[in-house]
């Protein structure tokens, strides 16, 4: 069984996000890390390949400046190889262009029985790329999977819903987007980290993949305004002296809700 996982390399979420005042793009400078929400997809892929009795997990990513540090984390977890699309022409790409690029990268790896992606990234959270990729690849899809099992030529998926979850079946090949938290992503072992350094990662451009126009030129949208939202004013903050619960009771009384 061959599984390809889409991974995003993002700025450390611990550092606050910022827009570049010149371009109004999200700043994505400095060292990038594997988006935690994609580590679940990598883990799920590794488990599915194990359960299938063998196969390969490969990864695809799009990032500026030939950035591979996040991809190396996925390779250290156990993925075998990757394709990185890195191209200054892709700066400013919208979700649709991103999906075109990643779908082409999946095809460059010869396609897969299953393509996995996170439901949305932790920094841009447009959340449309997986389903757009499925359409571009001509695949059926299940989004928001919280568990995935392969049963012969089809998938059994528990799909999160607003009210609970649905059991869904889907024929292979297919694309599935996975939610966080259901599998526990493994920590790369020392051996894995060493091995990851020599695993093949092919770096290609949008033109290599035949995707054009890319970047701002292909985005179909432009940022017309960036404004500060009206700030919500902070109220009273008090230190609990053992009796602060009384302040909450008073506050609720004032609102006439108790």
């Amino acid at each position: 069984m061959k599984v390809i996982v889409c991974v995003k390399q993002i700025p450390d979420p611990a550092t606050p996000g910022e827009l570049d005042p010149a371009t109004n793009q999200l700043k994505r400078e400095g060292k990038l890390i594997l988006d935690e929400s994609d580590s679940y997809g990598v883990e799920m892929a590794l488990q599915l390949v194990d359960a299938a009795g063998g196969g390969e997990v490969a990864i695809v990513s799009m990032a500026p400046n030939d950035e591979v540090s996040g991809m190396r984390t996925a390779l250290a977890m156990g993925a075998a190889q990757g394709v990185l699309v890195s191209d200054p022409a892709l700066a400013g790409s919208d979700a649709l262009t991103t999906a075109k690029v990643l779908a082409a990268a999946v095809q460059r790896l010869g396609g897969a029985d299953l393509v996995l992606a996170g439901t949305e990234s932790s920094d841009g959270y447009t959340g449309t790329v997986p389903e757009q990729m499925a359409e571009l690849l001509g695949l059926p899809s299940v989004t928001f999977a919280k568990s995935v099992a392969v049963d012969g030529g089809s998938l059994k998926v528990d799909r999160q819903t607003e009210a609970g979850y649905d059991e869904v079946t889907c024929p292979l090949p297919a694309l599935v987007s996975v939610t966080a938290g259901v599998v526990e992503p493994r920590y790369p072992s020392f051996k894995g980290i060493m091995a990851a350094k020599s695993k093949p990662v092919e770096t290609v451009t949008a033109a290599d993949l035949g995707v054009s126009p890319a970047g701002w030129a292909g985005a179909g949208q432009t940022i017309s305004e960036v404004a500060q939202a009206p700030a919500r004013e902070a109220g009273t903050v008090i230190e609990d002296d053992g009796e602060a619960f009384g302040k909450i009771v008073e506050y609720l009384e004032g609102l006439k809700v108790i």
Binding site: G127, E167, A229, A234, I248
Partner: protein, 322 residues
């Protein structure tokens, strides 16, 4: 040419249009032009309400037979567009189904999407949508540069739903065409994780717990306070990811958006992801050990203290009042 036709992807729950559907119809009719609702399924139960909120036409695919709506509804939409009835704008709710249908349609039409929007403006041929970023501190407005149909998804509760007193709409059949290699994803069983009390996104009072509770068992305090106040219990993403409580309780960017009269955040630091989902609450009370926690920046009443000490006393005091 201004906007002449707007479609709203309409959803049904328990025999009625969802509140999100009615919000979008209300906004759509204020933008000028004619409004149509597009239903993935049989529309007979909800067509009347859709008309009342401003839809003059209702497209309905008919029963989807359990198929996931994403590719099915998008294909049905594409077929209507290819048939010559193209909208200038399609409005989607920012939820699972809305996002799936919009994504598929975006590829079929080769059009970009704007997501997580909270407002839209139409000025002649120019369509712009506004999205909050960085926890809602910054508002980014993006304008479509290409030709329509423009595709925009809106966060819940972005607009207030108001009936227009419209009459019965024309119902048009929009069957799902052959899906080829993209067919086959289908629901075989539905599981509802029932919670007692009011629904999280409709409750007047929400009590939410976060990582500061320390361990899963302590969430019982949050449940109890919610129950004493006849409200609903919610959670931060951190403890949903940790498996303490089900996803259906998550408040935030990737969970539910709530705007209750009172929101009590217990042991929640106030990550961007969480704030987007609750900042619209009328009154916010926060209890957190860390005086620097961002949640205090939006709280009307902030208690710097240990939730394990404050909550039991608060519950006791409220119970004593009967």
């Amino acid at each position: 040419m201004a906007i002449s036709t707007i479609w709203v992807f309409a959803q049904e729950a328990n025999g009625a249009p969802t509140s999100g559907t009615l919000e979008l119809l209300t906004k759509a009719r204020s933008l000028g032009g004619s409004v149509a609702a597009f239903v993935g399924g049989d529309a007979s139960a909800i067509a009347g309400s859709l008309g009342e909120y401003g839809a003059s036409t209702v497209y309905a695919t008919g029963d989807l037979g359990g198929a996931l709506p994403g590719v099915a509804v998008a294909s049905a939409m594409k077929a209507v567009i290819d048939g010559g009835s193209s909208p200038d704008l399609v409005m989607f709710p920012q939820n699972y189904e809305g996002r799936d249908v919009m994504s598929r349609l975006s590829v079929k039409l080769d059009r970009t999407v704007l997501t997580n929007s909270i407002d839209i403006a139409v000025d002649g041929d120019t369509v712009s949508a506004t999205t909050p970023v960085f926890g809602g501190n910054t508002l980014v407005t993006a304008t479509f540069t290409g030709t329509g149909p423009h595709l925009v998804a809106f966060r819940p509760k972005s607009f207030a739903a108001e009936p227009a007193g419209g009459g019965a709409p024309e119902v048009v059949s929009a069957p799902v065409p052959d899906l080829g290699s993209t067919a086959g994803a289908a629901v075989t069983a539905v599981h509802v994780e029932e919670s007692t009390g009011p629904k999280l996104d409709e409750a007047a009072i929400v009590v939410a717990g976060g990582r500061g509770l320390g361990e899963a068992e302590k969430f019982a305090m949050v449940d109890e306070l919610a129950s004493v106040l006849k409200g609903a219990a919610g959670a931060s993403r951190a403890i949903v990811d940790a498996g303490w409580v089900p996803y259906s309780m998550q408040v935030g960017q990737t969970g539910k958006v709530v705007k209750p009269n009172v929101y009590i955040a217990a042991g929640i630091s106030g990550a961007t992801q969480h704030m987007v989902g609750m900042k619209g609450s009328k009154n916010i009370i926060a209890i957190n050990k860390d005086a620097e926690a961002p949640i205090f920046g939006v709280a009307d009443l902030g208690i710097v203290g240990d939730v394990h000490k404050v909550l039991p006393k608060l519950i006791e005091a409220l119970q004593a009042r009967g």
